[in-house]
C-alpha cells in the first residue's frame, strides 16, 4: 500500500520486484531448464492465476473461497471441449460406431453430440466461454450469498460443497464429460499441434505474459478506490455499509474477478498439459490453491506467484523422491504457515528486507538517501 500522499501507480520497490519476477519468468526459467521441466513450471504458473485471484478476494476482500477449482476447471473444460471436438473430426474417428464425436461419447453409446457441446465447435465461442461461463457462475453464487449478507465461514463451506458437487457430477456423467479421466488426447489448436516442444515453448511464453499482465491489472485494481473499499470492507464491513456503499456488489465483483482469473489459468492449463480432468476441480485442488496463496502471503500478488512455484516445485520434487513424506511435509507446511507466518513468504521477506535496507542506507553517502521510504510498506 503506497502512502496516501503518493498517488503513483507503483513505488520504485514495487517496480523492481515486478521486474525481477518478469526476468525470472521470461529469461531465467526458460534458459535454465529443458522443455519438459519448463512445461512443468508453465503448469505451475497456471495455478498462480488462481492464487492471485485469491489474494484479491481472500487477502484483500476477506472472502475465502474453497471452490476456486470449480472456476479453474470450468475454464479448462471450456477450452478442452473445443480442442476435443477439433481432435475428433470424422476422419480421425472413423473407426468409431459414430464418427465425428469425441471417443469417450462413443464408448458410452452416445450417437450424437449433446446440445451444449455444439457451440464449442467455434474457437471464438470457446474463448468467450472460457471467461464468461465461470464468471457468470461465480456471479450467480456470489449474488445469492452476498445479497443475503452471508459470508465468512458459510461462504467457504458453500463454495466447497459446490466444488464437491461439480466433481461428482463430472465423474458421474461419463458420456457427456469424459468422466474421471476427463477430456484427454487433445492434439491441435486450429491445426497447430500443441504437443510439440516448440508449441510448448510458445505456450509457456503466452502463459507468462498473460500472468504478468494479470499481475499488473490486479495491482492497478488494488490501487484504485475499489481496492481501498475492499480493505475497508474486510476490516469493518458494517461501517462501509453505513457510509452508503453497496457492500454486496463490491464482493460480487471481486469474486467474479477472481473466478475469471482462475478460468484463464484453467484454459492455459488445458493448452499446456493437453488434458483436463475432474481432479483439478474438487475439494483437494481447491484447498491446495488456497495454500499457494497462503504460503506466498495472502496480501502479496507477487508473493502468490512465488508461493505457487515453491509449493508445486516442492510437491513434484518430494513426490518423485519420497512420496510418503510429501503429505507429511505439505501438512506441516500448512500448519507452520498458519501458526508462524500468517503473511507467508512476502511477510518473511518484508521482515528480512527492512533491516537490510536500513543497513544499506546507513552506508550510502548522505545525499543519495532516497525518499521512497513508505514506512508502513505493505507488499503487493
Amino acid at each position: 500500500m503506497s502512502s496516501p500522499t503518493s498517488r503513483a501507480f507503483a513505488t520504485r520497490g514495487e517496480i523492481l520486484a515486478f521486474a525481477t519476477l518478469a526476468v525470472l519468468l521470461l529469461a531465467v526459467l526458460p534458459a535454465s531448464m529443458e522443455i519438459f521441466r519448463l512445461n512443468l513450471f508453465g503448469k505451475y504458473l497456471t495455478y498462480a492465476f488462481v492464487a492471485i485471484g485469491l489474494v484479491l478476494c481472500w487477502g484483500y476482500g476477506g472472502i475465502l473461497s474453497l471452490g476456486q477449482g470449480v472456476f479453474f476447471g470450468l475454464g479448462g473444460y471450456c477450452l478442452a471441449m473445443f480442442l476435443k471436438l477439433e481432435a475428433s473430426d470424422p476422419e480421425a474417428t472413423k473407426i468409431q460406431s459414430t464418427p465425428g464425436i469425441p471417443d469417450f461419447m462413443d464408448w458410452n453409446q452416445l450417437t450424437e453430440l449433446p446440445w451444449f457441446w455444439v457451440p464449442f465447435e467455434s474457437l471464438g465461442f470457446a474463448l468467450v466461454a472460457v471467461v464468461l461461463v465461470p464468471t457468470l457462475f461465480a456471479g450467480l453464487i456470489a449474488f445469492a450469498m452476498f445479497k443475503r449478507r452471508v459470508g465468512g465461514v458459510y461462504f467457504a463451506i458453500i463454495t466447497q460443497s459446490i466444488a464437491a458437487i461439480l466433481t461428482i457430477l463430472i465423474i458421474g456423467q461419463q458420456g457427456l464429460t469424459g468422466g474421471v479421466n476427463g477430456i484427454t488426447d487433445l492434439r491441435t489448436l486450429k491445426g497447430w499441434d500443441i504437443r510439440t516442444d516448440e508449441a510448448k515453448l510458445v505456450l509457456y511464453y503466452v502463459n507468462a505474459f498473460l500472468l504478468l499482465g494479470a499481475l499488473v491489472f490486479c495491482h492497478w485494481v488494488l490501487g484504485t478506490k475499489f481496492g481501498r473499499i475492499l480493505v475497508a470492507m474486510r476490516t469493518r464491513e458494517d461501517r462501509v455499509r453505513f457510509s452508503g456503499y453497496d457492500v454486496a456488489s463490491f464482493k460480487i465483483f471481486v469474486f467474479c474477478l477472481a473466478a475469471a482469473l482462475s478460468a484463464i489459468g484453467g484454459a492455459m492449463f488445458t493448452l499446456q498439459v493437453g488434458f483436463m480432468s475432474p481432479s483439478f476441480v474438487g475439494i483437494v485442488p481447491s484447498i491446495e490453491m488456497v495454500i499457494f496463496a497462503a504460503v506466498g502471503g495472502r496480501l502479496s500478488l507477487l508473493g502468490a506467484v512465488y508461493g505457487t512455484l515453491l509449493v508445486n516445485w516442492a510437491k513434484t520434487t518430494f513426490s518423485e523422491t519420497m512420496p510418503e513424506l510429501w503429505l507429511l511435509a505439505m501438512g506441516g507446511l500448512f500448519i507452520a504457515v498458519v501458526l508462524f507466518f500468517p503473511n507467508g513468504l512476502a511477510g518473511l521477506w518484508q521482515s528480512f528486507r527492512q533491516p537490510l535496507m536500513h543497513a544499506i542506507r546507513r552506508h550510502a553517502p548522505a545525499g543519495s538517501v532516497v525518499a521512497d521510504a513508505a514506512p508502513e510498506g505493505g507488499t503487493r
Binding site: 474453497l66 465468512g152 465461514v153
Partner: protein, 308 residues
Amino acid sequence: MFEGYSWAELGSIFAMQGFAGLSLFSVLVLMALGLAIIFGQMGVINMAHGEFMILGAYVTYLCSNFFAENLPALFSGYFLIAMLLAFLASASLGALVEWGLIRHLYKRPLDTLLATWGLSLILQQVYRSVFGAREVGVTLPDWLMGSFAVTDMIEIPINGVFVMFLTLGITAGVWLWNFRSSWGTQMRAVVQNRVMAGAVGIDTERIDRLTFAIGCGIAGIAGSAFTMIGSTGPTSGQLYIVDTFLVVVFGGAQSLLGTIFSAFAISQSQSTMEFFLSGSMAKVLTLLTVVTILMIRPQGLMSLRVRA
C-alpha cells in the same frame, strides 16, 4: 423415475431404502454432532473431523481383531468396548490437537480451516504408514448380522436399527450435557463471550480443551458406526467432511435438533434416490438441493438467533 412401479411396490421401496439409509443417518448425525459442537458452538472449522472419525474406525478394527484372536468368547460384546475405546482415542487426540494447534487460532476462524486441513493430511499419511493403503473391514458379531423381515418385501437390517438407537442415546446425552449440565452452561458462556466468561471465574482454556475433545470423541464413535456401512481406508474420512459440514450448516449451526433433522433429510433423500438413479446422481441432487435451500435460507432449517 417412478414409472413401472405400483403404489405398493413404491411404498416398500421407500421403506426399504429408508431403513437402509439408517446407518448413513447415524454416521452423519454422530459426525455432525461433534462438528456442531466444534464448529457450531466454538466456531472452529475442523477439516480434520473426518480423520478423527477414521481413527475411531481403525480402533474398532483393532478391537475386532484383538477379540477375534484372544477373547473369542467375548467377541459378541466387543462392539460396545470398541466404541468406548474409539471415543477415548479420538478425544485424547482432540485434546492434544487443541493444545498444540487450535488454541492459538480462536481469533482467526478461517485459519483454523487451513491448519486443520494440514492436520488431516498428516493424519492420513500416518494412517497409511501404520495400517497400509488398503481398506480394512470389520467382522460384525452374529447378533448384529441379518435383518428382521417385516413383510415379504420389507426387511430391516439389525445393525442399522442398533446404531440408530445408539445415536439417539448419544444425542440425548449431548443435549443434556449441553443444556442441563454446569459444564455445558460454562461452555456456552465461553463461546458467547470469552472475556466475560473468564472474568466470572470460568477456566476458559480448560473448557475449550474439554469441549473440543468431546466433539472429536463423538466423531470417534461415528467411526465405530462407520465400520458397519463401509470399509475403512486412510482417506475414507475425507469423503464425509463436505456432507457433515452441510448437515451442520443446513440444520442451523446452533441447533442440535436441526442437525438431526437435516442429517435425516440428507441421508434419507440420498438413500431413496439411489434406488432410482445412480449413486452419484443421487448425491449430486441431494447436495444441490441443500445448497440451493441454503442460498435461499442461509440460517439453516432451525436457527436460534437470526444473526450471530
